[in-house]
């Protein structure tokens, strides 16, 4: 149900239903008939059982990475504050119970 991998289009066949897609140096013919949009070599698609299911949005991926990087910044800022020794967080919430180290 779930195993789908990002691959990059290297070539599109004349009938526009089949493309050659590359994943980390491995290439496969993939049916792209499920994607209505105009595809071009260089585009990235999600591949599942020999079909392209979705186009991968570089903008969304970059936006997501930006948000993920920011997660850390907040946490680092918090750690700095905690380092000043104010005691508990302003809203009284701690860091959540921690699992014992394995």
């Amino acid at each position: 149900m779930c195993l789908a991998i990002p691959g990059q289009i290297v070539e599109i066949a004349d009938d526009r239903h089949v493309a050659k897609v590359e994943v980390s140096g491995v290439r496969r013919q993939v049916n792209v008939a499920l994607l209505d949009d105009e595809l071009a070599p260089g585009d990235w698609v999600l591949i599942h059982v020999g079909f392209a299911m979705s186009r991968i949005s570089a903008e969304q991926a970059e936006e997501q990475m930006r948000l993920l990087r920011m997660l850390g910044e907040d946490a680092e800022a918090m750690a700095e504050l905690e380092g000043y020794g104010f005691g508990e967080d302003a809203d009284g919430r701690g860091a959540g119970a921690r699992k014992a180290d394995a």
Binding site: I5, V23, S24, G25, R28, H48
Partner: protein
């Protein structure tokens, strides 16, 4: 559809091996499956549960690929291996080369200098003469490069429809290297695990060459003799080498699980340190396979004492063909009999022995 449901038969008795990794296994399987040849648990049941008890326990404990014999003061090593690869020819090699390298490598990682081979062919009637000639040439060339003499053998022909072209078996003899003394029992917590190069090239190459999964790549089999690298390792840090194995069927995971079980210790791999070429990784991600379960035919794993680890790595890296060697893990006291792979962000997972052949998945 009938209205009365049937209940599936109650499960039978559990396999004896699960509770204690070191307990003797038993072979009670009603029929032979492909899994019995895959190098994982089923193979172990067949070999250790059926063959070992019948053929002579003492000589085979702990079970390695190579037998040691002392004959009038000469310390010899003996091994045999059979080759049933499909297709016969694949990028980077063919069955003829595998037949030489497989046995030469068993001798090398068994601590012996390979000297001579016996080769048996089982040929299928109808196989084109030029196919047989090509393999004979490939085998002869590989033997010459590896510095071993082919001193004899046998040939049989079976009817069309059997042997899929040809099966080859090689038996090899070597001289035990006095610089090396290998045993899982000499492995200690703190010892380091080395690999000679990237994992999985051979297995993925052959899988792709079969054409079932319709993937193309520039990958080639890694088939080669590892003796020159073993030789360098022995010269640099000989007494510090505890154990070696070539990760063929079942991959590095199976070889290391066998070590963990035989030594009664745990092994932790650093997931990111294990070298894997990008196309192997790509194929594994696409098919849902783990590179640690994929066969190599030209690499080996070694466990060395910690104080010798850096020198061992340097010696391999400086040798031709050893440039991608890496330190990939460490032996620990626990969890006993278990191999773990740890990610650098802190999580770790158990790496189990292979169950059956690696099957691509879609889920």
């Amino acid at each position: 559809m009938t209205s009365e449901p049937v209940t599936a038969p109650n499960p039978g008795r559990p396999p004896a091996e699960e509770a204690d990794p070191r307990r003797r296994v038993r072979f009670r399987d009603p029929q032979i499956e492909m899994a019995h040849g895959a190098g994982g648990k089923a193979s172990r049941r067949l070999v250790e549960g059926l063959f070992v008890p019948l053929f002579g326990g003492a000589l085979l404990d702990p079970l390695g690929d190579v037998a040691h014999l002392e004959v009038d003061g000469a310390r010899l090593a003996l091994t045999a291996d059979s080759f049933v690869v499909r297709p016969l020819v694949f990028p980077g090699g063919s069955i003829g080369e595998l037949a030489v390298h497989g046995t030469v490598n068993d001798l090398a990682v068994g601590g012996a200098e390979p000297l001579a081979l016996l080769v048996t062919f089982v040929l299928e009637a109808g196989t084109p003469g030029e196919v047989v000639e090509a393999e004979a040439r490939a085998l002869a060339a590989a033997a010459e490069r590896a510095g071993v003499a082919v001193v004899g053998g046998d040939t049989k022909v079976v009817e069309h429809g059997k042997a899929e072209g040809m099966y080859v078996t090689t038996a090899g003899i070597g001289r035990l290297d006095p610089r090396l003394s290998l045993s899982p029992r000499s492995v200690r917590p703190g010892d380091r695990v080395l690999v000679s190069g990237p994992l999985g090239d051979h297995g993925i190459t052959v899988l792709l060459a079969r054409g079932d999964v319709d993937l193309e790549s520039d990958l080639e089999s890694d088939t080669r003799s590892v003796y020159p690298l073993v030789d360098r390792l022995a010269e640099a840090v000989g007494p510090a080498v505890r154990w070696m194995r070539d990760p063929t069927r079942g991959g590095a995971a199976t070889a290391l699980n066998e070590l963990a079980r035989d030594a009664g210790l745990g092994i932790v791999l650093a997931e990111e340190a294990v070298p894997v070429r990008p196309p192997v990784r790509g194929a594994c991600e696409l098919l849902g396979l783990d590179p640690l379960h994929i066969a190599c035919e030209g690499q080996f794993l070694a466990v060395v004492a910690p104080e010798a680890a850096d020198e061992a790595l340097a010696a391999l890296r400086a040798a031709p063909g050893g440039g991608e060697a890496a330190l990939v893990g460490e032996v620990r006291e626990s969890p006993r009999g278990t191999v773990l792979a740890a990610a650098s962000y802190g999580g770790s997972r158990v790496v189990d022995m292979l169950v059956g052949d690696p099957l691509p998945r879609i889920c």
